[in-house]
């Protein structure tokens, strides 16, 4: 028994046990509710999910939502990085942006979504929402990364006449990446939720959010749950490349 349970097996077993527990809890709650419209059973949801998976346009819907999230994430990362680089040379810029970033962080998400839908329309709103909710998170990580660059390493770099360009690449960037890596996981999850919420509210065509909307208005709660599972899969799919990238840039930590 002991030899069967290797470290990798142990992780798989833990995930499987967790999922089984979730399904059991779900089943119990749906039995208590006693109404598939109020709270669908796991069986009803899985049946509905299998129907959805056979749809010919599923890939387009899935890919469209993921693209909107990815565009927003990418733009937020670029803006946060560029602004962070500027702040390194002109620290006062951080002071200028502080109230704006704090305001965006504090703003209720629904306010952000509604405003953006009005300004940008149903097609562009979801990506813009993704950008706006994720940017403060990534920007704060970049600023913290810059502020916490080890001054002793910078002193060593200055003594050895390492160029500013090399310091940026070899000292500032890795330091910032460490902070960004910690924030990216949360950023992906948040972006997926907010994009789908924006798609739902604005009825963006060819989107997971729109599908959830139509499932709701037709009281197709198994459909709502099934599309929710698809949304969770979208978040997992997006997390994979970000985890691969952050693991690449932080592999030195795993070597210790």
């Amino acid at each position: 028994m002991k030899t069967f349970i290797t470290l990798e097996n142990k992780k798989l077993i833990e995930v499987a046990v967790g999922i089984l527990f979730l399904l059991l809890l779900w089943q119990v709650i749906s039995m208590i509710a006693g109404n598939n419209v109020l709270f669908p059973t796991p069986k009803a949801t899985i049946e509905r999910l299998l129907e959805i998976l056979k749809r010919p346009n599923l890939f387009n819907i899935f890919f469209a939502t993921i693209s909107r999230v990815a565009i927003g994430l990418f733009l937020a990362f670029i803006f946060a990085s560029v602004l962070g680089a500027v702040i390194m040379f002109v620290p006062f810029i951080e002071v200028l942006f502080r109230p704006l970033v704090s305001a965006i962080k504090a703003m209720p998400n629904i306010s952000i979504i509604v405003q953006i839908i009005v300004w940008l329309g149903t097609l562009r709103a979801p990506s813009a929402v993704s950008f706006l909710v994720v940017f403060p998170l990534l920007y704060s990580a970049v600023v913290e990364g810059i502020k916490n660059v080890d001054p002793s390493l910078l002193e060593m770099a200055n003594l050895y006449k390492i160029s500013s360009k090399s310091q940026l690449k070899n000292i500032y960037f890795p330091s910032v990446i460490s902070y960004l890596a910690a924030s990216f996981g949360a950023a992906v999850g948040l972006a997926v939720k907010m994009v789908i919420a924006a798609e739902y509210l604005s009825h963006t065509p060819t989107s997971i959010g729109e599908r959830i909307y139509f499932s709701r208005i037709y009281f197709d709660m198994p459909g709502v749950m099934a599309w929710t599972i698809i949304a969770i899969i979208a978040a997992i799919v997006l997390e994979v490349p970000t985890k691969v990238l952050t693991r690449h840039f932080t592999k030195w930590r795993d070597e210790s």
Binding site: S152, L159, Y160, K161, I162, S166, F249, W252, E255, S256
Partner: protein
């Protein structure tokens, strides 16, 4: 020739260095010895150009120099070889790799080029730091308590490595230490700082040739160490 003229330095109301005057010949190893807090690291940092707020004048130090810090100050996200290559920007790119590897072999660390600093012991990290200092194109080297927290055996091994390297490459070296034995073995000149004087209280010349200093504990080295102890404890 290196000159220090009327060098003084204060941190607020605390005067750490007071009117230091000294001259040192090129190619010498100068061990600066003194108790904690006497200002020896402050002096070293001024001479290396890391601290530019002082009064007085220093001559001959305005050149490229290497520095071995108390902590290794290696970039944790770069491999050992990359940590050395990064300081060789001004070297012909074709020779960078060769020079970096040679420096690692100098300190007997050939073969760990791809390791990360976190995979190395403290002593090995310090040796990489020393390799970096040797790889860098300069003939002036500063070391600030480089053997702190290393055991005696490792200290002896490093000193055995360093003396011939400094001699072969004709380095001028300033090494700060509180270890009398290190000062007596490495220093051609031992400049002793007082606890509160902010200045050198005595300068001794090492009577033992460099090549003979690590052949066991000679009477002359022991006598020198005793002289240093007496001066420090006066």
């Amino acid at each position: 020739m290196y000159e220090i003229n009327k060098l003084s330095k204060s941190f607020g109301s605390n005067q750490v260095l007071r009117n230091i005057n000294a001259r040192f010949t090129t190619g010498r190893i100068i061990a600066i010895l003194g108790p904690s807090g006497c200002g020896k690291t402050t002096l070293l940092r001024i001479l290396a150009g890391l601290d530019t707020e002082y009064s007085g004048d220093i001559k001959g130090f305005d050149q490229r120099n290497s520095f071995v810090f108390q902590q290794s100050r290696l970039l944790p996200w770069k491999s050992v070889l990359e940590n050395i290559k990064i300081v060789l920007e001004e070297i012909n790119p074709k020779r960078v790799e060769e020079r970096a590897k040679k420096a690692l072999e100098m300190v007997e660390l050939g073969g760990i080029e791809n390791s990360y600093p976190s995979q190395l012991s403290g002593g090995m990290q310090q040796r990489v730091s020393i390799a970096r200092a040797f790889a860098y194109p300069s003939k002036l080297m500063f070391l600030d308590e480089p053997f702190q927290s290393l055991d005696f055996d490792l200290k002896q091994r490093l000193m055995k490595l360093l003396l011939p390297l400094w001699t072969g490459e004709n380095y001028t070296v300033f090494i700060v230490t509180h270890d009398v034995h290190v000062a007596a073995v490495l220093g051609d000149t031992i400049a002793i700082m007082g606890a509160s004087e902010g200045n050198f209280i005595q300068t001794l010349q090492n009577p033992v040739r460099r090549g003979d200093r690590l052949r066991g504990l000679s009477e002359e080295i022991i006598t020198l160490e005793n002289s240093i102890y007496q001066l420090i404890t006066q």
